[in-house]
């Protein structure tokens, strides 16, 4: 039998045409060159490895009704049918013989490693009953949902608000919290959306050609920009793949980045490369207090006086100063600055984690970077950097519960009033300090024991039933944290559940639809399902249905006012189904979708089920210029131009016209943050340079101190949730410590030799990777690797090694690897072919917490002492003194300037907050 060619001649198309997706025929490559036809249903869904939400297309074998593979979804506006290695590897995760297929309940003590299979009914009854009791007893802050990888857009906020709890915790402050604060202080928007494809100059303080927020969509567009002639510069002390692709690699010493950026700003100002008209028009320069006591008192500030003041404040950031701080030659800094200036209007820049997340004061790196975007008039322009909200879709619902009347100080303690996100990584420390306790604690695709700093304290607190009454781990695969749960609840992988995803990957807005592909394929054949788990492997649930079911069990008769939020908008009183939930959103909340669907004769939901994605608009630029209609009673503040209508700020007057501006108090880009000044940080109110805790000046060369960069990611892995993908682990499975040739020589370390890396609270032992690809004085160790399991069955054998914890005579705890990665027998013959034995070393365990006093971000970089391994050291050893880790926590806490701020507030009202409570809760 032969299949007809898609097009005549020899031309090749990348994708199966969508009109054939219902019944698509391909030759079976396994039987080739025999021409054996295979019939598939092609079902679009969304990747769940990184946060980019790239489109996938599942090939569901019509004969076996199993997923054969995932390719890209060509109709997805961001990923455009292309994926990184983690996209196709999704099939490994689905077929992983080590995955969790049924709900488990602990059968021994917590953390003892004994489990029994239970039914979902038991799970829902027990957890629902507990939450009901807690809510009825007014213990609303004792229920917490802690999310690692967020999935369903806005759904969780809705659930938690419906429950009336301030119970949303996230991973953000070990991730992007610092950069977010820096961006938010400028514009009210906490994420950048660089328009790489149209840029003339791209500056990355990141590694977007291999990792990071929106790796694949951004890599596509960075390369597009480059092919069109854009130049690329990368700050990174380590030669990332991205840096290697750059026209300019600036190996900045960790923590020095803001100094380099401010030196570049100085070059722009000094050489007339800055767009001063733009700065005058669009920044709140008037708010910068005049220099010196009484200076300019009474006189109206002028732009000239502002510029003079600004240049005076920045005078010290010369290229020579930046060279001294960063190690990057001044001439190179000047050269890049001039190129940035020449790209005026089309300068795309990005920092997300990296420097912002590594350093004390890292949030200022984002402030300083955005200063370059402002000076080059590249905010929100074609080829510039837009606020994320212009390029991101958020769904609305038929009914939204009001903001909760709670403020949970385990999430937003008073010490960090400006923390952009929850102080998530301090949860165990706050619990240990007696600031509260948890009745029911959900972790969702979240592995703090392994990923967060000071995992030992996490283990201690998670093991304490007085502090954590019940821990339910929602996860598709085993992880170190799930081992300390009471329930391990299997949730779906990428193509095993529903949700809506949209990210600011480009200049445009799109929405994409994740769906459980087996359920969708079988529904195409006319089958019906009440729950997704009925079509998924085993009893793998999806969160949407879990929350609906759980909410009904918390409030079975509706008397608590919770159930009503989980009733169908189409059939009041009836339990909401995922079908109705997404049907309503697609029918009512996605601009243009109903019309596009109608053109194809489809209902909006069916359109999304068929194609998986929809482009709402493209090329959203200059939205701050959007005219705002105002009533006659609108008031304009004569100094700032801010326009109030009906008591609310609605816009700002720019050159005689009332426009939307930015969601900041001044409605402009805030070069001067009065908020910071008002909340006790006057010295940091301008974009500035805070010397990092790992700045060169902090290092004692005599003691052999160096800075450890522990955060770099690999193109093939994603945190700890790709450990079950065999093809990814085959490519990357160890994380040796990168050290420069000269440092290695000085310390007498050969490549491959064992080294001991000592932190403030302990040490870890790893192999050295001696290389020219890292700045001297810096060592780096990649994320992802060094996974372990305490008991057999509690970790994927593709990526974890058995370990034991032992208390040492000095009170410290020693983690020791008891074995290696080994081949094992399973349904997948590949498991017996595992050829690597090294699973890496768990470095994060040896890190104390470093909460930034302003952003609340954990400052990841570590001051370490590097040396050859000592007698008795073994590969993979990690030693930690828990007492020291609490002491380090307290010393960082002392740097804070606690609430209340002006007006007796816990937090500035204008700054957003995840799961924003009712406004009155901001007041202490």
């Amino acid at each position: 039998m032969t299949i007809e060619r898609l097009s005549p001649g020899s031309g090749l198309q990348p994708y199966a045409p969508p009109e054939r997706w219902d019944d698509y025929v391909e030759y079976d490559p396994k039987q080739w060159p025999k021409r054996v036809e295979k019939r598939y249903s092609l079902v679009p869904t969304i990747c769940f490895n990184c946060e980019a939400a790239c489109g996938l297309l599942a090939f569901v074998d019509q004969e076996t009704m199993e997923v054969r593979k995932f390719e890209g979804n060509p109709l997805h506006p961001a990923s455009r049918g292309r994926n990184c290695a983690k996209g196709p590897a999704t099939i490994n995760q689905i077929q992983d013989p080590e995955r969790i297929l049924y709900p488990l309940k602990r059968a021994g003590k917590r953390g003892e490693g004994k489990w029994k299979r239970v039914t979902w009914d038991e799970v829902l009854d027990e957890i629902g009953g507990r939450i009901r009791k807690a809510l009825l007893e007014g213990r609303r802050n004792e229920v917490m949902y802690h999310v690692g990888r967020p999935g369903h857009e806005r759904t969780m906020d809705r659930v938690l608000k419906a429950w009336g709890i301030d119970g949303h915790n996230s991973h953000t402050n070990v991730c992007s919290g610092a950069a977010r604060l820096g961006y938010a202080l400028w514009s009210g928007y906490d994420r950048p959306s660089p328009d790489h494809a149209n840029a003339r100059f791209i500056l990355l303080l990141s590694a977007h050609l291999e990792a990071g927020h929106y790796f694949n969509p951004h890599a596509q567009r960075i390369l597009e920009g480059k092919q069109r002639g854009a130049k690329l510069a990368v700050f990174d002390p380590r030669l990332s793949n991205t840096a290697s692709m750059a026209d300019y690699w600036l190996p900045t010493y960790p923590g020095s980045e803001a100094a380099v950026l401010l030196a570049m700003a100085n070059v722009l100002l000094d050489e007339g490369l800055a767009d001063l008209d733009y700065v005058e028009r669009w920044t709140n320069w008037r708010e910068l207090p005049p220099e010196g006591e009484g200076a300019g008192g009474g006189t109206e500030p002028t732009f000239a006086s502002f510029l003079a003041a600004l240049r005076a404040r920045y005078a010290r950031y010369t290229p020579a100063f930046a060279e001294a701080e960063s190690g990057v030659p001044a001439a190179r800094i000047v050269e890049v600055a001039r190129q940035i200036g020449a790209a005026r209007g089309a300068f795309a820049a990005h920092v997300w984690r990296g420097a912002a997340s590594g350093n004390l004061g890292g949030w200022q790196v984002a402030r300083a970077l955005q200063l370059l975007s402002v000076l080059t008039a590249s905010v929100g322009t074609q080829g510039g950097t837009s606020p994320h909200a212009w390029n991101k879709y958020k769904p609305t619902f038929w009914e939204e519960p009001p903001g909760q009347k709670e403020w949970n100080e385990l999430l937003f303690p008073r010490e960090w009033p400006l923390s952009h996100y929850e102080m998530s990584f301090l949860l165990p420390h706050l619990l240990k300090e007696g600031r509260g306790k948890l009745d029911t604690y959900f972790t969702r695709v979240y592995n703090p024991v392994w990923t967060n700093p000071d995992g030992m304290t996490w283990m201690e607190v998670l093991s304490d039933e007085a502090l954590v009454g019940l821990h339910a781990a929602l996860t598709p695969t085993w992880n170190e944290t799930a081992a300390f749960a009471d329930f391990v609840l299997p949730m779906g992988h990428a193509g095993e559940r529903h949700d809506i995803q949209s990210q600011e990957t480009q200049s445009g807005r799109w929405v994409s639809f994740r769906q459980p592909v087996l359920r969708a394929a079988r529904e195409r054949r006319g089958e019906t399902f009440r729950h997704t788990w009925e079509a998924n492997p085993g009893e793998v649930w999806e969160e949407d249905e879990l929350w609906i079911e759980l909410s009904w069990r918390i409030d079975p008769d509706g008397s608590m006012g919770i159930r009503r939020w989980f009733e169908s908008p189409y059939a009041p009183g009836e339990k909401l189904t995922v079908h109705d939930y997404y049907r309503w959103i697609f029918e009512n909340s996605v601009p243009g979708l109903p019309e596009a669907a109608a053109k194809e004769g489809l209902a909006p939901l069916d359109y999304m089920r068929r194609y998986g994605a929809f482009l709402i608009e493209s090329g959203a630029y200059g939205l701050q210029h959007k005219a705002v209609p105002v009533s006659g009673s609108a008031e304009r503040d004569p100094a700032s131009g801010v326009v109030r209508d009906g008591g609310k700020v609605v816009g700002v007057e720019i050159e005689g016209e009332v426009v939307a501006g930015f969601p900041t108090p001044s409605r402009k880009l805030e070069i001067y943050s009065r908020t910071l000044s008002d909340w006790g940080w006057e010295g940091e109110a301008l974009p500035g340079y805070i010397r990092s805790h790992v700045a060169r000046s902090e290092m004692d060369a005599e003691k052999g101190e160096m800075v450890l960069v522990p955060t770099f990611r690999l193109p093939t892995l994603i945190h700890t949730r790709s450990g079950n993908a065999k093809y990814l682990n085959e490519i990357s499975h160890r994380n040796p410590v990168w050290i420069h040739t000269r440092d290695a020589e000085r310390l007498g370390i050969a490549s491959g030799a064992l080294v001991r890396i000592s932190t403030e609270i302990g040490y870890f032992v790893n192999d050295a990777w001696v290389t020219e690809s890292i700045a001297p004085g810096v060592v780096a160790c990649s994320h992802h690797l060094g996974r372990w399991r305490l008991h057999e069955g509690e970790g994927s054998r593709w990526s974890t090694v058995p370990v034991r914890f032992d208390r040492q005579a000095d009170g410290s705890m020693l983690l020791r690897q008891l074995g290696t990665i080994e081949p094992f027998e399973s349904a997948d013959p590949d498991s017996s072919r595992i050829w690597w034995s090294d699973g890496g070393v768990h470095q994060n365990l040896a890190f104390p917490v470093h909460p930034d006093p302003i952003s609340g971000m954990h400052c990841w970089h570590q001051k370490v002492v590097v040396g050859p391994a000592e007698a008795g050291d073994r590969y993979g050893d990690v030693s930690v003194d828990p007492a020291k880790s609490m002491a380090v926590y307290r010393s960082w806490k002392e740097k804070t300037r606690p609430a209340p701020g002006p007006g007796g507030l816990r937090r500035p009202l204008w700054l957003d907050r995840p799961l924003r409570p009712a406004d009155e809760m901001f007041k202490i």
């Binding site: 490559p29 080739w32 060159p33 292309r82 390369l223 065999k726 093809y727 490519i731 990357s732 690809s773």
Partner: protein, 492 residues
């Protein structure tokens, strides 16, 4: 139609999406790869750069793997794709010696050869291979070189490109834009003992690594499937085959030249025994030993493995006939002494000895084997081996000539860098000088001198036996060095 690939190194970001998409499409087992991304780092800080080179079958227009494959398991399609059929493969691994690019592996599930087949099953219906489809930066282009409108041809017209090892004359059809020289030349950065985020899947090759900081260094790679894919069985096969040929050739030549002499049953039995051993080794080295007869029943006539099989079979048949004429019911002194039949058998013996030179010549991946001396050398080795067992005296002139040939193979001029590298490996260590030449040539030569200088020595006596043993040992060691060394030179 003539399909080819273009890899644009100004776009490739080294993300491994292509290799994973390929593994998923073909369910490629762990440990082997059809395409992979080689990482090379070079330059001293801060001028360090990492380059990425997507590596795979070149779908050569003159594919050595197709030529050497004895059963047409590898074949060229009408559209220029070099495809394979696991159902025809006997697992002889000759293709892995033929391919100069380390593109072929033995699939551990099927125990047959496999490689990138351009996803012919997709191309045939008009779809790009998944490695092309998945690539985030569109760094991989697949297209028809015969179609001037294809984007492949358009880019080739616009940009200068390189191919891997053009000097091999294979006509590779994977073209690289801005390829890095140190990445294209496999031995510029041989496989080391570990990688930046993976273990090395095998010990480093015997090639020395450059220790100098900033020198090209391979920082990510996969297992070299071609390294020593022919192991001791192949070395031993060369040796047993020499004996099988020589044991008959020496007395037969004597008998042909001198009518007074004849060939007894002994040498014929000896030759048959070693020929059986040779076949056993050959079959034992197949990954599909049960398919060994396919070299005869599904012949691909250009392959010297096929031709050699027929030569061996013919030689075996003639030897059996010779034996039958000397022992058993068909015994016939006239026919046993028939010079025409003796000459025919001797011709097949020579063929059996020499065909491997042409087989090795088809092994385009092994530069050391591309030696014009190999054919005469194999004949001489057969004579030496035969002499060692049947008339050691002849070793007095055979051993010096063999030593000269060995010296010429090793110290002679090698046209390629990889040939020199392999020769250097042969020379390194004690194996060649002390082993092959010392113990294997000089010692037996001196022993024989002693044996035959002795007044009235009719036979070689104890010294002769000892000399023969040393000479045979030397021959075996040489075969092993010669088979092993070029397989240590990386091909990718």
């Amino acid at each position: 139609m003539n399909y080819g690939f273009l890899i644009d190194n100004t776009r490739c970001i080294g993300c491994h999406a292509c290799s994973v998409a390929c593994k998923v499409e073909h369910e490629v087992p762990l440990g082997v790869a059809r395409t992979w991304v080689k990482y090379i780092e070079k330059g001293a800080f801060p001028d360090t750069r990492r380059t990425f080179t997507v590596t795979r079958c070149n779908h050569c227009s003159d594919a050595p793997c197709v030529e050497i494959c004895p059963t047409s398991a590898l074949y060229k399609r009408h559209d220029g794709i070099v495809d394979f059929d696991p159902g025809r493969c006997i697992g002889c691994k000759a293709c892995m010696q033929g391919c100069p690019y380390d593109a072929i592996y033995i699939d551990p599930q099927t125990e047959t050869a496999a490689k990138c087949n351009f996803c012919a099953h997709k191309v045939e219906v008009g779809l790009t291979p998944p490695c092309v489809t998945v690539c985030p930066t569109q760094a991989i282009v697949a297209g028809d070189l015969d179609d001037p409108a294809s984007s492949l041809v358009q880019i080739l017209g616009r940009k200068p490109v390189q191919v891997r090892k053009p000097e091999k004359g294979t006509g590779p059809k994977v073209f690289y834009v801005e390829a890095d020289a140190a990445s294209l030349v496999p031995a510029a950065a041989p496989p080391p003992s570990d990688y930046m985020w993976a273990q090395a899947p095998q010990p480093p090759s015997a090639l020395p690594l450059t220790e100098e900081a900033g020198a090209p260094r391979r920082t990510w790679g996969v297992k070299e499937q071609h390294r020593n894919s022919w192991g001791w069985k192949v070395s031993a096969y060369l040796w047993t085959k020499s004996i099988a040929a020589g044991a008959f050739l020496i007395p037969a030549l004597g008998a042909i030249l001198d009518p007074e002499r004849s060939v007894g049953a002994g040498p014929v039995l000896l030759a048959l025994f070693f020929l059986a051993l040779t076949s056993g080794l050959l079959i034992g080295d197949l990954r599909q030993p049960r398919r060994f007869l396919w070299t005869l029943t599904k012949p691909q006539w250009r392959s010297w493995l096929t031709r050699g099989s027929y030569v061996l079979a013919g030689y075996g048949g003639l030897l059996t006939l010779q034996l039958a004429l000397r022992l058993g019911p068909l015994r016939s002194e006239a026919l046993a002494g028939h010079r025409g039949l003796l000459a025919l058998t001797a011709l097949f013996a020579t063929g059996a000895a020499v065909y491997t030179a042409f087989l090795f010549g088809q092994a385009k991946g092994r530069d050391l084997w591309q030696s014009s001396l190999l054919a005469p050398h194999l004949v001489l080795q057969a004579l030496a081996a035969g002499a060692a067992l049947t008339s050691p005296r002849a070793l007095l002139w055979l051993l010096p000539v063999d030593a000269l040939l060995i010296a010429a193979e090793v110290w002679g001029r090698h046209p390629t860098e990889d040939g020199r590298r392999a020769a250097k490996l042969v020379k390194s260590g004690p194996w060649l000088l002390q082993g092959v030449l010392g113990l294997g040539h000089l010692v037996p030569f001196l022993l024989l001198l002693l044996a035959f200088r002795a007044p009235g020595a009719a036979g070689a006596g104890g010294f002769g036996v000892l000399a023969s043993a040393f000479a045979l040992g030397g021959l075996l060691l040489w075969e092993h060095l010669f088979v092993w060394a070029p397989q240590q030179v990386p091909n990718a």
